[in-house]
Each structure stands twice: as C-alpha cells, then as structure tokens.
C-alpha cells in the first residue's frame, strides 16, 4: 500500500521530477530501491537477509530472460 501511495505522491511533484521518476521506473533503474522498499513494508514475509544490489541484479536478469519477454 505504501508503494502505491508512493507512486501517487511522486506523480504529484514537478513535471521534470515526474519524468525522471518515470524514466527510472520504466528502465528498471529503480528496481533495487523498489525491492528494498517492499522488504521494509512487509518484513514479516522475509526470513532471509535482503539481497545486495549485485545479487538482486543477477537474480532479476535470470528471472527476466527465462520467459518470453520480447515480441515480434
């Protein structure tokens, strides 16, 4: 829920910041921060330590390219 709120408040800031936020979200540049935010919001769901940025990147690539993610 916090992340949904986050998305909303971010969208209310000035247009340049909004564009920058959108660009980081859309390219996956902010994926690690989103992951950490998710862990902060629901710590009870996680029994293991958070992945490092490096581990998270490797893990996300593995998930992304194991399924059809590009089209004709």
């Amino acid at each position: 829920m916090e992340r949904a709120m986050n998305a909303k408040t971010k969208a209310r800031t000035n247009p340049l910041k909004k564009l920058w936020w959108w660009l980081r979200q859309i390219t996956g540049d902010a994926a690690y921060e989103n992951y950490l935010a998710h862990r902060r919001v629901s710590p009870q769901e996680h029994s293991t330590a958070a992945m490092t940025r490096d581990q998270f990147y490797a893990d996300s690539l593995h998930r992304k390219y194991s399924t059809i993610n590009r089209c004709c």
Binding site: A4, I68, R70
Partner: protein, 687 residues
Amino acid sequence: MNKALRAIVWVCVSLAGAGALAAIAFERREPLNAVWFVVAAAATYAVFYRFYSAFIAAKVLALDDTRATPAERLDDGKDFVPTNKWVLIGHHFAAIAGPGPLVGPTLAAQFGYMPGTLWLILGAVLGGCVQDFTTLFFSMRRDGKSLGQMAREEVGRRSGLLALLAVLAIMVILLAAVALIVVKALKDSPWGTFTLAMTIPIAILMGVYLRHLRPGRVLEASIIGVTLVMFAVVSGQWVNASPAWSQAFTFSGPALAIAIIIYGFAASALPVWLLLAPRDYLSAFIKIGAILALALGIIFVRPTLQMPPLTRFIDGTGPVFAGKIFPFCFITIACGAVSGFHALIASGTTPKMIMRESDARVVGYGAMLMESFVGVMAMVAACALSPGVYFAINSPAGIVGKTAEAASATIRSWGFAVDPQTMATLAQRVGERTLLDRTGGAPSLAVGMAQIFSGTIGGDRLLSIWYHFAIMFEALFILTVLDAGTRVGRFMVQELGGHIWKPLGRRGWLPGILLSSGLMCGAWGFFLWQGVQDPLGGINSVWPLFGIANQLLACVALVVGTTILLKMRRLRWIWVTLLPMVMLVSVTMTASYQKIFDASPRVGFLSQARVLAAQIASGAIPPDRIAQTQRLILNNRLDAIVTGVLAAMILILIVEAISVWARILFGGKKPVLHESAYIATRWAEGD
C-alpha cells in the same frame, strides 16, 4: 467540461476520424498527405479507446477495482510488483513492439496504401487491442497464468498442447524471418555491417559495467551505450570510404547468414548479463527513441504519399510477395493489427504487475494502439517513397532482372517511373553500393525514414547517416529478438528434452545447454538458409509462414477468450472476441490453403516444386545447378508440410472449442471457471 460540450468534442473527433478514413479509403486523383493518416489513426484510436474499450471494460469483462489484483495479493517485490499504470504501459509496449509492425506494413505497401492502412487501424481497434486487453484481463484473474495454461484449463488439454506447439513453431519461423531481414539489409553493406558488429563489443562493455562496476545502474549504462552506438553509426562512413576496411566488412548473404547463426548460438548460451541483457537495454532505448523521432518527423515534414491507394498487384502478382489482397494483406501486416505473440506477453509478466483491474484497459488496449500507430508510420514512410524506387528496392532479382537496366525496364512496364541512374544516385546518397534487390522491407523503410529524418534535421547532407541509423535501429532490435527468442526456445527444448532424458531438463547442465541451443539455432537457421538461397528473395516464402503462425496464436488467444466469456455467462457479448476470431480463422485457413495448393508457382509451395521438377526433367536446368534446384524442391515441399501442420492445428483447435462451447451452452452442467477467488482490495480508492 459539461456534458454537452464533451458530446460535441467527441462528435467532432469521430467526424474527423471518419472523414480521414474516407479520404484514405476512396480513390483520389491528387496524392494524399501523411497528415490524413495521422488524423485517421489518432481520431479512430481516441474514439474506440473512449467508447469501445470502456464498453469492454464495463460490460464484457466487468473490471472490478474492489478486487485485489495478483500484484497486491502476491506482492513479492520481484515478479508480482504493483506498478503505476503509466510505467507498466511503457514496460508492456517495450515488450510487444518488435520488428513486425515495421516490416509487415512496408511489404504490404505493394498493394497501395489503402488496404494496409485500413487494416492496421480497424484491425487493431476491433481485433488486436481486444485480444491483448482480454488476454491480459483473463490472465490477471488467474494470478498471471500463461496462455498455454489457460487454454489447457478453460478449453481442454489438446488446446493447451496446441498452444505450446504453436509458440515453439512461431518462435522458429519468426527468428528465421527476422534474421533474413537483417541479412538482406546488411548484404554487401560495409557501413551497416560495421555498425551492427560494433554493437556487440559495446553491449559487452555495458554488460561488464552493469554487472561488476555499477550493478543495476541501467540508465547510466544505457546512456554510455547509446552514445557509443551513435558514434559507431557516424564512424561507419569512414569504414565505407576506406578500401581495406570496407573490404573487411563486406559480406555476401550466405556469409552473413552463417555469422548470424553462430552469433545466435553464442548469445543464447553465454551468461545473460554479458550480451543479451545489455543489448536489450540498448535496443529498447533506441527503439523508443527512433519511434518517437519518426512520429515527430512525420508531423514536422508532413510528406505526401506517392504510392497510389491501390496498385495492380491486388491481383496476386506482386513482386514483393505473391498472393491476392485477401488473405495476404492481412497475413503480411500481422503484428501491426493483430499479433498472437502479444498474448504471450499479456499472459506473462504484465498481469503480475497490474495495480488495479481498471489499469488493464490502458495497458492492454492502449499499448496495442501505440503498436498499430507504429505500423501506420511504417506505411507512411514506405508510401512516401516514389513507387518506382519502392519496387526497385523490394523486388528480388529473380523477378525484375539482375541488372539495373533490366530491373528499371520491368518496373517501368508496370507503370512506375524509375531509371538506373536514379537508383545509383540514391544508393550513393545513402552510402550503399546498390539498393536494388534489397528485399525484406528494412532498406526501403530505412530510405523512407531517412528522407523524413533528413527533412527535419540535416537535410541531404545527413541522409546517409540517417539511413544507417535506421538500418542499425532495425537490425539492433531484430538481433535482440533473436537472442532472447533463441534463449527462451532453448529452455522450451530443454523442458521437452527433460521428459525424454532427465539431465537434459537441467538448465545449468553445459552439454544440455549446447545441445538445446544448437537444436534451436539449427531449426531457425534452416529456414534462414533456405531464404538466403531462394532466388525469389526468401521473404516470399518465409514471411507468409510467419504471418500464418502468428495469426494462429491469435486464434488460440481469441478461442480461449471466447470460451471464458461463455463460462462467465456473457453470451450476449461473445461477438467481441468471436468476430475477430472468425476473421482470423478464415484469413489463416485461406492463406494456408493457397500457400500449399495454389496453381501459381509463386504462391503455392507444391506447384513451385512441380515447376522446378519439370524443369529438371526437361533439361532446362544446367547440370551444375541441378543439386541446388533439388534442394529448392525439397524446401518447397517442407514449407508445404509446415503450413499444413499449422492449418491442422487451427482446425483441431476450432473443433475442440466448438465442442466445449456446445457443452457449456447445451450440456446442462454448470461450467467450471478457473478464476482465482475474490479477495477485496486493502487499498483505499485513489491510492
């Protein structure tokens, strides 16, 4: 805005759209400006989005924002991530936008601008967008299940298996078709080949940066990569100018085909962070940038379309590809109007990221509208060329003749003005040795785009740079599709192989990786090699196969959608998915039948094989070409079998679907809907 004013605005938008569509649809004496196409597309999209997609959302699917989406219920911060709809539409569009909507309309321009443009716009709003939107919704209601899983659960086991086989078939044929386009675009083009070759070390550099220096900093790495690629495009002219360097980067079609097969094998077997992922980031950036630039360029330059609304080739004798307007215009355009492949993305990552149900409308229906607009722009770019030039670039030497003089004479005999000098000058202006016999659509699209871009920035001085930018843009993301597709195909082969011998199913086992990558590359490499060797240009046989396979997958998605609507007791609305399904089934079945049995050797695979066999028997083929001709005969027979299998798959699917529908409607038993249970959202309205 009050109600009356809103109504007036929508009436005006509808009239503008209808007027512009009518201008495109009716024969005219004076050439039409591209503005009509932009208005026709934008107004039709706006009206259908506002009213038709709203009707589907409210009545047909009954989207429910009080229901928690999988992204909310299963949020794991990795796969299931609630995502802002404007971010998600970007993700989804980047995933669905491929080379298809650029190449298909360019090829279909041989019929004139009218049929292709009308199908691109109307096919999308009534078919493609509906397929994407409904599939996304149904998958979202099933925790993001894939199309294959939904087909198995909702229709039957046979349909589930058919969906899987259709996916594998379409992947193999798609990869061969797009690889062939790259080969045709880079053949004897040192500038283009150098630029594309340079993207490999640039991607590896980005890969190392992203993995080891600044993990996950995608924007930084992409900016570095895009800058280097732009430099590679510009520096290609120096390679082209140097005799030694240009010699080193000049390859024939067969040599390029072998290089691409080896590349595809390496890229799918190497660690994904090294080449595949960074190339994907690079290509996504350049793809979105080039599409935006083309849109702005068309609005700024407002080119006049030189192609007539209809050409004589609607009779099926077209040089770009053979076959009548029905069904081949629809089969050729494929992705720009309806793409079955989108159903795989709409039942893949996207449904796991939707924050609320109503977002599925803008993401599913909206992203396909954008894709359709890309197709319309490609049509504008192709038709803005002089028709003589368009046909000179896109017609294979096997049809128009091997020399510039012969090609020009043939094209002039069709009523389109062109002469060898014009083609030689144009080739020189874009930095190529020749533009004749460059089938596949990419070079003519690049010439069209370069004219529009140079009309905006740089004028004639930058024409060659813009041409090679456009070639690089097309080739770059085609190679990304090739990398990613071969890799996913490899996993599918490994999964299937695992049923025969367990170790083959282990994704990390090196012999398994090498074997499955080899099988996948061998499969698409076979069709690619066949296309490169084909004297009729290859596209004539490979692209229709791709179109049929793609539309077959769309039939699967629409059959699944219709079945689920019936189970949801929305009988009165099933025409929403049923009508596009009927259209696609008739298009694919007619195309399959004609590609196998048509009496014209350029259309029917079997008659082509018969003609070649008769030529050998009568001694018309010189002894040194008999082996090659026998291979062509074998290829044609094999293509006929592949088309037959695809058609059989459609028939089995339809028979199974009709029996399931009959049971739902008349069986008396309550149909089982495999939807996830309703759980109320915890998010307040307006979150």
